[in-house]
């Protein structure tokens, strides 16, 4: 196994009991290993921040900032959590900072062509994502983060709370409020109403409108 392969294996197990002490030493002493760690983490960091912030012009700046913070913190990584969990916490902090900043939406990303999905579906998905990020932008930051972590990343409330450094009950509370608000906004969006199979306002019959 070459050096890069060995490092890859070590990084994959980082934070698990197998090789943590060795890995921690390497993080402190071996710049190449540190660089490999960061290169491994970069795509994940990009994905996390894309979900938190949506498509925006300074997304790569956010990724670079987060990686720099992770690079600063890695030599002190004690292996009590998985490396990705450790990095995710830092990314959440970075995400909060960038949520406060105004940014231009980035040029639309065109996904690679897929034979199994029709162009109409791709276009609809793209539009749905764009609208979902619009909805999320209007949420308070903490609720938005709770929604991203739990409803989009798929973490359970306990794991999300642990990453945020709050109690699970508080995370559940934020998530409940966030879901309620997202649902309300989606129900007011004709596009989402169609996706959710709800009749649009102009399609509802007079007796369904609840006129007095």
């Amino acid at each position: 196994m070459d050096l890069a392969g060995a490092n890859h294996a070590r990084i994959a197990h980082m934070g698990e009991r197998t090789s943590e002490s060795q890995s921690r030493e390497l993080l402190r002493d071996d710049p190449q290993f540190l660089e490999d760690c960061l290169a491994e983490l970069a795509p994940k960091v990009h994905r996390w921040l894309y979900r938190q912030l949506g498509p925006r012009s300074d997304l790569e700046d956010a990724v670079q900032d987060a990686l720099t913070e992770i690079a600063r913190a890695l030599p002190r990584f004690e292996g009590r959590a998985k490396l990705s969990t450790f990095a995710h916490r830092i990314v959440i902090r970075t995400g909060y900072r960038y949520m406060r900043r105004c940014a231009e939406p980035s040029p639309e990303w065109v996904e690679p062509k897929r034979n199994d999905v029709s162009p109409e579906t791709i276009a609809a998905n793209r539009e749905a994502l764009r609208r979902l990020h619009k909805v999320l932008e209007r949420l308070p930051r903490k609720r938005r983060m709770a929604f991203v972590l739990c409803a989009i990343e798929g973490l359970d409330a306990r794991a999300a709370a642990e990453r945020e450094g709050i109690s699970a009950a508080r995370m559940r509370n934020r998530l409940r409020h966030a879901r309620k608000e997202v649902l309300r906004r989606m129900q007011h969006d004709p596009f989402f109403r169609t996706l959710m199979g709800l009749p649009n306002a102009d399609e509802t019959s007079p007796d369904q409108r609840g006129t007095p």
Binding site: C37, Q64, R80, R97, I152, V182
Partner: protein, 446 residues
């Protein structure tokens, strides 16, 4: 008997509630379905080359020391001002500062003391004029920064507070994880807190520490520890207070030769002070407070803190009838008058107290008189006179920055542009990052 009956209003309400909840569940399910579908949508990703480039760049940046500004980044910190040491918090908001190694992922706030010695201490100026100096590894929250009520929670670490004057009916309080609460009326003190105990050292002024229903007052130069003995205050944090205290001591000795009315001995250096370790319940060195040595004075001070100003004033008058030149009682009388909003009498009493107090306390009285003249009595000329009465003692005192700022404001109010510019220049040279520096620059056009 037929089971059929007409639907009551209660039945209709239950039915409506049931339908509403069903609709909500259905909508939630639909939303989950949409989100599920969106999760499958491919997302933009980084190429390996790009990831490698970013990793290299992160490593290159990592070796650069963190500027204090970067260390202040936190979920609630974006509104904080641009200057590296200036921290602005909106009322009611909070911010957590955490420096040093952390497994909780606070990497944005982390720094290494070995590589960034200049960042081992961070100095923050709150909008209320309070200065907070925190050492590496400290964690505290600013809970409230209103003009009247300022509240800070210290979780652990060494933190020094230089508290601006507190308004009438206002307070500045510091809480700790250990459950102790420190109340301040304008002072400089340092503290180290942890879950199991906390220690405090007062450099100037006076604080009241409340813990488990016992209240202890600490004066200048005194230290005390509650609970388990904590590590000594961080050297970098202490250095600021010690330096000021030594210079004050030198000036106090110089002044004592000239002043025959000095009622109190000068504040000793914190290094020479006895540190008293107290049990978690009862303070052990009651009665040794330099500032409030006797129980009568303590009761009067307590009355002031409780808002019973007339009681404190009566007691002060009684004591001053016996000892007319006792600076402590003059100060208590002035505080009581100020509490009763008798500002003109309070200002005159503060000015009187200047002559009966040692320099390090006299500056506090002179400053308070000047503030009252300027802000409450709208008499800038009298404010200038009060401030200049002990001008030479402000140098290297913790009040120096505020005194210089106040002097500039007074001169600006008096419409003396040349003198104002000179005062502003002195301030900016001495405290280029002081809390009043932006105002000075605005008004002088620098």
């Amino acid at each position: 008997m037929s089971r059929d009956r007409c639907a009551t209003p209660q039945d209709r309400t239950d039915s409506d509630n049931h339908m509403a909840s069903e609709r909500l569940i259905s909508a939630e399910t639909q939303m989950n379905r949409v989100l599920e579908a969106l999760r499958e949508v491919p997302e933009p990703s980084l190429s390996q080359e790009r990831a490698r480039t970013m990793a290299k760049r992160a490593l290159a940046r990592q070796s650069k020391p963190l500027a204090p500004r970067a260390m202040l980044r936190s979920p609630g910190a974006a509104m904080w001002a641009a200057a590296a040491t200036v921290l602005l918090v909106s009322g009611g908001g909070w911010v957590a500062l955490k420096f040093g190694a952390s497994e909780r992922g606070d990497g944005a706030l982390a720094t290494k003391a070995s590589s960034t010695p200049e960042a081992s201490v961070v100095e923050l100026n709150l909008p209320s004029g309070d200065r907070v100096v925190a050492s590496q590894g400290s964690k505290f929250r600013v809970l409230d920064t209103g003009a009247a009520h300022r509240r800070i929670h210290v979780s652990h670490g060494s933190v020094m507070f230089d508290v601006a004057s507190v308004e009438e009916d206002g307070r500045f309080s510091v809480e700790t994880e250990f459950g102790a609460r420190v109340r301040v009326v304008g002072t400089v003190f340092g503290m180290r807190a942890s879950r199991t105990g906390f220690s405090i050292h007062v450099y100037e002024g006076r604080v009241e520490v409340e813990h488990e229903s016992s209240v202890r007052t600490l004066g200048a130069g005194q230290s005390a520890t509650w609970g388990q003995r904590t590590e000594p205050l961080d050297a970098d944090v202490v250095a600021l207070g010690v330096r000021a205290a030594r210079e004050r001591l030198k000036r106090a000795k110089h002044r004592a030769k000239r002043t025959q009315h000095a009622a109190l001995p000068p504040s000793p250096s914190p290094h020479n002070q006895e540190t008293t370790v107290l049990s978690s319940h009862k303070p052990a060195n009651e009665g040794r407070d330099l500032a409030l040595g006797d129980p009568v004075a303590r009761r009067a001070r307590a009355a002031l803190v409780d808002g019973r100003f007339s009681d404190a004033l009566d007691e002060a008058k009684r004591q001053l009838a016996k000892h007319p030149t006792d600076g402590r009682w003059t100060l208590i009388k002035a505080d009581a008058l100020r509490g009763m909003r008798r500002f003109d009498e309070a200002a005159a009493t503060y000015q009187d107290a200047v002559h009966h107090l040692p320099p390090h306390r006299g500056t506090v009285a002179g400053f308070a008189a000047a503030q009252l003249h300027l802000h409450q009595l709208s008499n800038p000329q009298a404010a200038l006179t009060a401030l200049d009465a002990c001008a030479e003692d402000y140098g290297s005192s913790p009040l120096e920055e505020r005194a210089l700022a106040l002097r500039a404001r007074i001169l600006e109010r008096l419409g003396r542009p040349e003198a104002f510019r000179a005062a502003a220049k002195t301030y900016l040279n001495r405290f280029p990052r002081g809390s009043a520096a932006p105002w000075m620059r605005d008004h002088t056009g620098h």
